[in-house]
C-alpha cells in the first residue's frame, strides 16, 4: 500500500512538471510575448524594440531556463543596466540586489503580477478561488445526493417504469452541456419577455420583472438562493446524469449478486436489503466517478461563471486567456492541474481503501 501511494505520487509529480511545462511553453510562444511587449511598453514598437524589451525583461533565452526560473528551481535572472543599476526577476522595486532572494518562482510563492487586474496573481487567485469554492460546494451538495438517489432508485429494480423514466432523464441531462442548460434556464426563469417570469408578473406573484436574476454578480458578496440557484443548477445538471448512470450500473450489478438473493430468500424485506446489503457495495464505483468529475466540473465552472458573470476562478481564467495575461493564466493552470491530479490520486487511493477485494502488495 505504502509503495503504491509513493509510486502514484511520483507519477503525479512527473505529470505535474510535464503539464506545467507545456502550459508555460504555450503561453510563452513568440507571438504571445510580442503581444505582451506591445501592450506593456508601446503598441507601435519595431521588431528590434520588441526583441530588446523582451531581452531586458527576461523573456529571452532558453525556454527550459525560463521555465526553471518560473518554477523556482533555478536562480532568477539578473541584469546590469547601462546606467549602473541592477534589474532582476527577484528584485522588486525599492530592493537592493543584495536583499533580493536568489530564487523566486511558484515554489517560493512568487506567482507574478497580473497585467489585467493590476494585482499580484496570488491575490487574484485567492479571491477568485474563494468565490469558486462556494460555487463548487453548492454544486457538490446538490449534485451528489441527487444523482446517487436517482441512480439507486433506478438500479434497484432494473427495467421497471421508474428505471425507464429516470434513465431517460439521465440521458437527457448528459446531452445538455452547461452552455445549453444555462441558456435555457435563463430564458425560462430569468427573462423579462419569455418563459414563466412575464406570466407570474402578470398574476402579481412576483414584484420584480423576472423570477430569478440573470446574473450572479451579487452572489460575490452575499449568496442567496435566488442569485445562486441558476449557476449551481447549470453545472449540476450535466453531472447528475453521468453519475446517476454510473450508480445505476453499479447498483444493478450488485442486485444480481448471490448474497442479495440469499438475503431475500431468508425473508429480509426488500427495503432492508437495499439499505443494508446493496447500498454500501454499490457506492464504491460512483465514488471514483465523482472524484474524476472534478476536471469536468472545472469546465462547467468556467462556462457557468462566464454565463452568469460570477467573478470566480473560471471567469478569471477566461479574462486572463482573452487578454494575454501570461502570469495569471499560468497561475490558473497550476491550480487546475493541481486540482485534477490530486482528485485522481484521491480517487485511486480511496478506491483501494473502499474496495476490500483489491489487495495490493
Amino acid at each position: 500500500m505504502f509503495f503504491f501511494v509513493l509510486r502514484r505520487i511520483g507519477v503525479m509529480l512527473l505529470t505535474a512538471f510535464a503539464l506545467t511545462f507545456i502550459v508555460f511553453y504555450m503561453t510563452n510562444l513568440p507571438p504571445n510575448l510580442e503581444k505582451l511587449a506591445k501592450s506593456e511598453a508601446s503598441v507601435r514598437m519595431s521588431d528590434e524594440a520588441v526583441a530588446s524589451w523582451l531581452d531586458e525583461n527576461g523573456h529571452s533565452g532558453s525556454v527550459f531556463l525560463r521555465y526553471a526560473q518560473w518554477v523556482g528551481i533555478a536562480p532568477g535572472w539578473v541584469r546590469l543596466e547601462d546606467d549602473g543599476t541592477t534589474k532582476g526577476r527577484c528584485i522588486e522595486a525599492g530592493m537592493t540586489p543584495e536583499e533580493a532572494p536568489r530564487y523566486c518562482g511558484i515554489l517560493q510563492g512568487q506567482w507574478g503580477f497580473s497585467t489585467v487586474f493590476k494585482q499580484p496573481v496570488s491575490e487574484v487567485l485567492g479571491r477568485s478561488l474563494g468565490a469558486t469554492g462556494w460555487l463548487m460546494f453548492w454544486v457538490m451538495a446538490v449534485m451528489v445526493p441527487t444523482s446517487l438517489l436517482l441512480g439507486v432508485l433506478s438500479g434497484m429494480r432494473e427495467g421497471s417504469r421508474t428505471d425507464r423514466v429516470l434513465s431517460t432523464f439521465a440521458i437527457a441531462t448528459t446531452a445538455t452541456p452547461e452552455y445549453v442548460s444555462g441558456v435555457i434556464l435563463i430564458a425560462v426563469l430569468a427573462s423579462a419577455t419569455a418563459g414563466v417570469s412575464p406570466i407570474l408578473h402578470g398574476w402579481g406573484w412576483i414584484s420584480g420583472k423576472t423570477l430569478f436574476p440573470g446574473t450572479a454578480t451579487s452572489a460575490m458578496e452575499n449568496i442567496t438562493f435566488m442569485n445562486f440557484a441558476l449557476p449551481v443548477a447549470t453545472i449540476a445538471l450535466y453531472g447528475i446524469g453521468y453519475i446517476a448512470r454510473m450508480t445505476r450500473a453499479s447498483m444493478t450489478e450488485v442486485m444480481t449478486q448471490q448474497y442479495i438473493r440469499t438475503a431475500r430468500l431468508k425473508g429480509v424485506s426488500f427495503r432492508q436489503v437495499v439499505m443494508k446489503h446493496a447500498l454500501r457495495n454499490a457506492l464504491i464505483a460512483p465514488f471514483t466517478v465523482i472524484m474524476l468529475q472534478f476536471p469536468w466540473l472545472l469546465n462547467g465552472v468556467v462556462i457557468s461563471e462566464t454565463l452568469f458573470n460570477y467573478k470566480g476562478f473560471g471567469w478569471t481564467l477566461v479574462q486572463a486567456a482573452g487578454n494575454n495575461d501570461i502570469d495569471t493564466l499560468l497561475g490558473c493552470s497550476v491550480v487546475a492541474v493541481f486540482v485534477v491530479l490530486v482528485t485522481q490520486l484521491i480517487s485511486d487511493i480511496g478506491y483501494v481503501f473502499l474496495n476490500p477485494r483489491i489487495r495490493l502488495a
Binding site: 452552455y179 445549453v180 441558456v183 476536471p295
Partner: protein, 385 residues
C-alpha cells in the same frame, strides 16, 4: 403591413420548410423496416424504441444539413434592416409574404436559416474529427494493449497527460489566432493526420501480404490517395489543389482530435488486454500469424460492439466540444452560423430576446440527445448477442 404569425402558423411553416427532410426520413425508415432482418446491427436498431428515436433524431439533423440549401428561407449572412431581435414569426419588412420564422438575431439575420446552416457546419467537422480520433486511438491502443511493456507505459503516460488537462485550458492555449503563426498546429496536424493513412496501410498489408498482387493494389491505392489528401490537409501543399483546409478550421479540427484520441486509446487498450487472453487469439498465434494481423483482424472485429457505441457517444461529445469552442468565440469567424458561436452572441441579450440563443441551444441538445439514445439502443441490442 402583414400581421405576425401565430405559434401554430410558425410550426406549420417550419414543418412545410422541412418537407425534404420528412420525405427522406420516411423513405429511409420504410426501407430500413422492410429489410431490417438483413441489415445486421443496423437493422436491429429498429427493434428498440429508444434506438429508433435516437436514430430518427440523428438522421433528422443529417438530412437537414444535406438539404440545407433547399430549406433555408433567407441568406444566413444577410441583414435586413428593421429586423433586429425580431420576434418569431415576424414578417420581413419590404418583402411580401416573407417571414422570419424563428425571429431575427442581434444583427437582424434570420435565426431559422442560421440554425439550418449551422447544422451543416457542425456535421461537417464532428463526425470527421471523431473518425480521425478513432484511427489515432486504435492505431496506438492496439499495440499498447497487445504488446504492453515499455511501449504501453510510455503511450499511456502521454495519454494520461492529455486527459489530465482541463479541456477549456487546452482550447484556450491551442485555438488562438496567434498560434497559427507557430509550428504547433501544422505539426499536430502532421502527426495526427498520418494515423489514418498508417492504419489503413497496415490493415490491408497484414491481410493481403500473402497475395502480393492484391496487396500492392490496396496498399498502393491507400498510400496514393492518403498521402495526397495528407499533403493537402496537413500542409496545405496539395499539388492539384483538391484537398485543403481553412487554417481556422484546421486548428479547431486538430485540437478536437487531440482531446478525443486519448479517450479512444484508453478504451481500445483496455479491450485489447481483455480479448488477447481469449483462445482464438492463442490459436492465431499458434498458426504463426503476425502480431498486426491478430490485432487488426482477430481482436479489433471482436471489440467492435463497444467501439461503435463509444463512437456514437463521442460524436455527441465532439459536438459539445465544438459548441464550447464557439461559446468562447475560439477559432470561428464571427459570421459563422455554427451553433456554439450563435449561442455566444445570443446570450448577451438573453434577458430581452432569448430566441436567438435558445433555438441553436435546443438544436444542439436534440442532436446530442439523439446520438446518446442511439448509443443506448445499440448497446442494448449488441448485448443481446
Amino acid at each position: 403591413m402583414q400581421d405576425a404569425l401565430t405559434w401554430g402558423q410558425i410550426i406549420a411553416g417550419l414543418a412545410a420548410r422541412l418537407f425534404p427532410v420528412w420525405i427522406a426520413l420516411a423513405v429511409l425508415f420504410a426501407a430500413s423496416f422492410g429489410f431490417k432482418r438483413k441489415l445486421g446491427l443496423y437493422g436491429r436498431i429498429f427493434d428498440s424504441p429508444v434506438g429508433m428515436i435516437g436514430f430518427g433524431l440523428v438522421m433528422f439533423w443529417v438530412f437537414i444539413a444535406f438539404f440545407a440549401d433547399m430549406i433555408i428561407t433567407h441568406d444566413p449572412l444577410v441583414q435586413v434592416s428593421g429586423m433586429k431581435n425580431a420576434l418569431p414569426g415576424s414578417p420581413v419588412k419590404g418583402m411580401e409574404g416573407a417571414y422570419y420564422l424563428l425571429g431575427g438575431d442581434h444583427l437582424a439575420r434570420d435565426v431559422f436559416s442560421r440554425v439550418i446552416m449551422g447544422a451543416r457546419e457542425v456535421l461537417k467537422i464532428a463526425p470527421a474529427a471523431t473518425v480521425v480520433a478513432f484511427m489515432v486511438g486504435i492505431t496506438l491502443g492496439l499495440p499498447a494493449g497487445y504488446i504492453g511493456g515499455k511501449l504501453d507505459t510510455s503511450i499511456s503516460f502521454g495519454s494520461n497527460l492529455v486527459l489530465a488537462f482541463p479541456v477549456i485550458l487546452l482550447f484556450y492555449l491551442l485555438v488562438t489566432p496567434e498560434i497559427r503563426d507557430t509550428w504547433i498546429p501544422t505539426t499536430l496536424a502532421a502527426i495526427l493526420f498520418i494515423f489514418p493513412v498508417v492504419f489503413l496501410a497496415i490493415l490491408f498489408n497484414s491481410r493481403f501480404f500473402t497475395n502480393p498482387k492484391q496487396r500492392n493494389l490496396y496498399v498502393g491505392a491507400v498510400l496514393v490517395i492518403g498521402l495526397w489528401a495528407y499533403s493537402g490537409l496537413a500542409f496545405n501543399a496539395d499539388p492539384l489543389g483538391v484537398w485543403s483546409m481553412d487554417p481556422n478550421v484546421l486548428n479547431v479540427f486538430v485540437s478536437v482530435v487531440f482531446v478525443n484520441s486519448p479517450g479512444v486509446f484508453r478504451i481500445v487498450r483496455g479491450m485489447v488486454m481483455d480479448i488477447k487472453t481469449r483462445d482464438y487469439v492463442a490459436a492465431g498465434q499458434t498458426r504463426g500469424e503476425g502480431p498486426w494481423y491478430i490485432m487488426l483482424w482477430e481482436i479489433l472485429p471482436n471489440a467492435r460492439g463497444p467501439l461503435i457505441v463509444d463512437f456514437c457517444l463521442r460524436i455527441g461529445y465532439t459536438t459539445i466540444l465544438l459548441g464550447t469552442l464557439g461559446f468562447f468565440g475560439l477559432g470561428v469567424t464571427p459570421e459563422s452560423p455554427d451553433w456554439g458561436s450563435t449561442i455566444n452572441y445570443g446570450r448577451r441579450l438573453l434577458a430581452i430576446a432569448p430566441h436567438p440563443a435558445v433555438v441553436p441551444a435546443i438544436a444542439l441538445m436534440s442532436l446530442v440527445l439523439g446520438l446518446n439514445l442511439l448509443a443506448d439502443g445499440l448497446r442494448e441490442e449488441s448485448m443481446k448477442d
